[in-house]
Amino acid sequence: MRYTAALFKSKVARPIPQEPVPFQEILPLKLKPAVSGKGDRTSEVCCLQEMSVMLACFKKNEFSQQLCSKEIDSFQKCYTGHLATKKVKKDKEAKGVLTPGEKQLSSKQVNTLLKKFPNFK
Amino acid sequence: MLKTVFNVIKTKHIQTNQGLQCLGPFTTQACKFSNTSQLCHSEKQTHEEKQNISKAMKAYLDRAREHDEFMNEQNQEYQLGKRHLANMMGESPETFTQHDVDNAIEYLFPSGLFEKKARPMMKPPEEVFPQRKAAEFDETGRPHHFLFYTGKASFYQVLHDTVQHIVDLNRFEDAMIRKGMRPDKDQKINLSGYQWIDKDSLEAKLVETIGDKDYESFVQAFERLCSLPYSYKVKDFIMEYRKPLMSQTKAHDAPKPQYDENGRAFVTTYECLRKSARGDVTIRSPGTGKISINGEDITYFDLLQCREQVIFPLLFTNMINKVDIEANVEGGGSSGQAGAIRWGIAWGLRSFLDQETIEKMRLAGLLTRDYRTRERKKPGQQGARRKFTWKKR
């Protein structure tokens, strides 16, 4: 009987030499000098308290609005106020105007800041 | 700045008859120098050439002399021509003015060309040949202006001044705040009615060509300056670059009314256009509110909206029972015709109203000609904007 080396080969417990995984630099290995605006979206939920008060009033009074005018007023005031503040904020952020001492910066504002103090290469 | 340095270096090379190969590394080296070292470098070079004038300088001086000679010659020719012309027209050459020259040329060479600039003319050479910029450097080639190497010295000078003013005013404001003073509200600079001078006139003013972006930064810088609370302190400087706007109502003078055989004042407005309607409107002043359109009364228009349009200017100015209206319109539909008459009435009424009411009418949009028209249909589309329904196959 002839032994062929090929048959023995598989039984050899020698580990297959694994090549080290080459590193591929898909993205450059440094931070971008800008941030995307994805995280800026804030929650739309507002005036929940007023809404629930109003709806409770509605339910109590058979959905007639005259009896709940106070609740409706407070709800709408809250909502319009919310819209107004949102608009002001949006305008400000869109322009990227920096207000000194502000803690929470929008993406635009961060971008203007980053642009002002760029990284050296 | 760099560019000019480069030029200087280049000339130097040619003079010394060095090979062009060394130009590349040399310039790159120059680029890496800091600003101060560069300046030293160029200064050294100029010192070397102080004895004999540079070739560019010489060429410039030659050109300047040639220009002067040329202008002199032209002037002589003009004076001679003027004497000849006076002789032709049989008048005394001593009292022959430029106005006479123009008249004589118009008489001798009648031209019906629409463009007046293209007609025959005989003008003194100063008016004919465009002006040139004077030398910006002395005989040694050293520029007078510190911003010469920007290429747009006077433009950047203006920007520089603006920024200087801003800095000064800010400092001044700080000082005033420390003193506890506030800016004077009455003196606040009022910029309504003025506009920044446009790019062309700015170019003419600076005798330099500037780009669109340059102009933008000019406007921005000035608006920044204007927004300062103490900007009234530099009012003269700002006003130099603003031109007054024509008041909208004063743009068109109201015609003086004419008088008909009954002694009634009337004004006729021709060419009242709206959409494809055109017409003319006559307003007679002491009237009873009679309106006649193409010989009929206001019921010429079946639609109430059109009638409302016709009486809109009258109602607005409270003239409804004080004037008579006669209008002739043709073309277009009823709404277009009503619009044309509305504009005609408003336009003609100006002759019978005071300035204040006219301004009010303008703000109400009665004096603007509504030149919006139907947008044309485009090929490959269903209409002006609408596309054909998309079908996969």
């Binding site: 939920v45 | 703000l363 603007t368």
Partner: protein
């Protein structure tokens, strides 16, 4: 410090729209007018208010757009009614739409006058509103919903979430419902008559449109548990 102040001033300028020409430039789509043209102020009282405030001095040098052909300074002219006419309009038939609204106003008057003449005492008569425009306004106002439902997908499930409405949107809805209610009728009844009835009903806080609004509110109330799902 002063530089910071200038920055502040600058953003305030943009907010208050001072008459710097460059700040007037706005997007105007495909309009045939240049961007800096302002809209006409064609109502007399609005103009008076403007002059009183002194704002008109700033507008002196800015050209105005021409007033549209459905705008007049007449006291009878009303913007909301005009808007309503536009909602009634189909296929660009404005004269027809305007006629319909006018006729329904006329019918409102006729119906109200009929009631008026039936009344015996002066007090009852005084109670009846005869001005169709007032009736129209109260009707629109009464029909305005405060909340509505929007489907929002959360975890693969569509939730009907109650959402507050802006004033404009609720006005639009109230007009739309009124028109829809007026269209829902026998073919023998004229549109304007039905619209008139709906308007009177709505002005008295009764009728189909009011019921529709209340139904919507009821549903909102039922779904109030989802309110916090809005957009997050």
């Amino acid at each position: 410090m002063a530089t910071i102040k200038t920055l502040f001033n600058k953003c305030q300028i943009l907010k208050s729209k001072t008459p710097l020409l460059s700040t007037f430039i706005q997007q105007n789509g495909m309009s045939q007018y240049p961007t800096y043209y302002i809209n006409p102020i064609y109502k007399k009282d609005a103009l008076e208010a403007l002059i009183k405030s002194g704002e008109d001095q700033n507008l002196k040098h800015i050209p105005t757009r021409a007033a549209l052909n459905n705008q007049t300074c007449s006291t009878a002219h009303d913007d909301l009614v005009n808007l309503f006419v536009n909602y009634v309009m189909k296929d660009g038939l404005k004269p027809l739409a305007r006629d319909l609204v006018a006729q329904s106003f006329e019918s409102v008057k006729r119906l109200q006058l009929e009631k008026y003449h039936k009344c015996q005492s002066e007090e009852e008569k005084a109670k009846i509103e005869l001005n169709p425009k007032t009736i129209f306004y109260t009707a629109i106002n009464n029909c305005k919903p405060i909340l509505h439902l929007t489907p929002i997908k959360r975890g693969g499930v569509r939730y009907q979430v109650p959402v507050p409405l802006t004033d404009k949107k609720s006005e639009f809805l109230s007009m739309k419902w009124l028109i829809a209610a007026a269209k829902e009728k026998d073919s023998t009844v004229r549109f304007h008559l039905q619209l008139a009835r709906e308007l009177i009903d709505a002005a008295n806080n009764t009728g189909r449109v009011i019921k529709r609004k209340q139904d919507l509110h009821r549903q909102c109330e039922a779904n109030r548990a989802y309110a916090h799902y809005r957009w997050s």
